[in-house]
């Protein structure tokens, strides 16, 4: 893995400045909301990419970690008045522990078998929360309205602080992904993705490195979950634990380009606005046109550019040289 070039760093800083200025130019709530979703799903796709794109574990159960993050911080806040920032860390740790507990018995599952197990895991968690009285079961939980402040992780008058917090979260997840991808771990994950045999023969403890990948991914996904709970201030299993969220995370990553650092963010930047805008403009007619456009886009890209949009960019870059 190469180190970052000057061109990459400067264009990264350029994009960052544009993103910082964005809400100052587009002051209406809707564009800001769409961008927040782009960042949030971008972050979850980056987290998925660490285990799916690099380590080859195609998880369709990411929503469980998202839900665990959302539920943990909210439960701690409602029941014990624990600060959501602390709840965020606890939620991440619990998600990572659950990930390890479920990942260990799945150590030898590869490819579609792992995918199937992950779907089952997500559904088990959803069913469980649907019936768990302590956390509100199917009725869900409403977060208390606290005074708006950064400390309380709650803002009522504007989406702007949420926008910047989520942007910061996304950047954190990208930094984590960059560190993973360029370190020994990244090489080992890619070896494991290729085959468990080739990994073992190079002295790689496959079980251990897979668990690390799952735990990092779970922690980051749970962070996004806590954010979501603080942003919406209401959660129930049908909004934070349903399979379509997991699928969307996978689609975003695949569309943008699994196995590259920026790919999943690109995927989110394309898919989330398409899904939100078509939903708002066409969804209320009940014709499902929004889903058709969405589906057609995914089909086109997977047929013509299996390496994702990022693959398209890097091909052009190579040709330019």
């Amino acid at each position: 893995m190469r180190n970052l070039t000057f061109k990459q760093i400067s264009s990264g800083i350029g994009v960052l400045i544009l993103l910082i200025l964005f809400p100052l130019v587009f002051q209406k709530p809707f564009p800001q909301h769409v961008m927040i979703l782009v960042f949030m799903f971008g972050m979850m796709a980056v987290a998925w990419n660490i285990m799916g794109g690099y380590a080859g574990m195609f998880s369709f159960g990411q929503v469980a970690f998202f839900g665990i993050g959302a539920y943990t911080s909210s439960f701690l806040l409602i029941t014990y008045h624990i600060n959501p920032w602390l709840g965020l860390v606890v939620g991440g740790l619990i998600a990572a522990l659950v990930a390890a507990a479920i990942g260990y018995p799945c150590s030898n599952l590869r490819g579609h078998y792992f995918a199937i197990a992950s779907i089952a895991f997500g559904e088990i968690v959803r069913t469980h929360f649907n019936n768990w009285k302590l956390v509100g079961a199917a009725e869900g939980m409403t977060l208390p309205m606290l005074e708006e402040s950064f400390r309380n992780f709650m803002f009522h008058s504007s989406k702007l602080p949420y926008y910047y917090i989520m942007l910061a979260f996304l950047i954190i997840s990208l930094v984590v992904c960059y560190i993973v991808a360029t370190s020994k771990m990244g090489y080992y994950f890619r070896a494991i993705k290729e085959s468990h045999d080739v990994a073992k023969v190079l002295g790689i403890n496959v079980v251990w490195y897979r668990l690390i990948a799952i735990m990092i991914s779970a922690f980051l996904t749970a962070m996004a979950g806590t954010f979501y709970a603080q942003y919406v201030l209401y959660l129930d299993p049908e909004s934070v634990l349903i399979l379509p969220i997991s699928i969307q995370i996978v689609l975003i990553s695949m569309l943008g380009g699994a196995g590259s650092i920026m790919g999943p963010v690109i995927g989110a930047a394309i898919l989330m606005p398409v899904s939100e805008i078509t939903r708002v403009m066409l969804g209320h007619k009940g014709t499902g046109i929004d889903m058709i456009i969405y589906g057609a886009l995914i089909t086109l890209i997977s047929v013509y550019q299996p390496k994702g949009v990022w693959g398209l960019f890097s091909n052009i870059g190579k040709r330019a040289k």
């Binding site: 020994k184 990994a199 073992k200 002295g203 403890n205």
Partner: protein, 246 residues
């Protein structure tokens, strides 16, 4: 007192259901030897390899490396102890470059990337692949892939290297290259155990040859002894074949 052997395989049996893929096999390997394991298809050569390298766990018997009982150890742990291997069907990482593949192997002994890259380049220079280090592995020939697999194994800095049919399917020129490489590896002080069908190579490189048939060891000796042995010829060519003594 008897010196502890470098590698000792003692009464190893591996069953798959009712089939004895390895039946009570004994042999030892001394340091800096090249030992070849030959035998017809289905003789149990690859199974034996898998037992020694931890990919299978034998049903009974004992395997010791440098005096330590490694029976039942995980494959990655055996690799860390200094036993590297290649596969009959080449196993390399297909979305990496030649160099990145070798670096992945070298990272076993390093935590930082930079020293691993240096080690990987050193190994690729040794195996003659350094000029192709920037190529994706999908762009190189099968002979180079086999060499790369050996390079990855060498990058883990083994004391024992086990090659599973690394010469099958090579052209004569490529075969020459691989034989020379194996000799060079031995000259570096690395012990080799090879499974091989190409007899020309076996005759040239081996210090000792072990012959397996139907899961049993039927013979062990120098290459010259093995090729004239009646039982060995029968194993390969059938019982009706008569050896015309010269």
């Amino acid at each position: 007192m008897k010196k502890t052997p470098f590698l000792e395989v003692n009464g190893v049996t591996k069953r798959f259901g009712g089939l004895f893929a390895n039946d009570n096999i004994d042999f030892t390997v001394e340091e800096r030897e090249i030992v070849s394991i030959i035998g017809p298809n289905g003789a149990g050569k690859s199974t034996l390899f898998n037992c020694v390298t931890g990919f299978y766990h034998p049903n009974s018997g004992k395997i010791s490396f440098l005096g330590e009982d490694i029976t039942g150890y995980r494959a990655d742990k055996i690799c860390k102890m200094g036993v590297a291997r290649t596969f009959q069907i080449v196993q390399i990482i297909s979305d990496m470059t030649v160099l990145e593949n070798a670096v992945t192997g070298a990272l076993l002994r390093f935590n930082k990337i930079q020293p691993a890259v240096e080690k990987a380049e050193e190994v690729l220079t040794f195996t003659g692949l350094i000029e192709k280090k920037g190529l994706l592995v999908t762009q190189i020939t099968i002979a180079d892939k086999k060499k790369l697999e050996v390079s990855m194994a060498l990058a883990t800095q083994p004391r024992l290297l086990m090659l599973d049919e690394s010469m099958a399917g090579l052209t004569r020129v490529e075969l020459r290259g691989m034989i020379d490489l194996i000799k060079k590896v031995r000259d570096k002080g690395i012990t080799l155990v090879v499974v091989e069908h190409v007899m020309e190579a076996v005759m040239e490189i081996s210090d000792r040859v072990i012959v397996l048939n139907s899961g049993r060891k039927i013979m062990e000796g120098s290459p010259q002894e093995v090729v004239v042995n009646r039982e060995v010829i029968q194993a390969y060519l059938g019982e009706k074949y008569n050896v015309v003594s010269s």
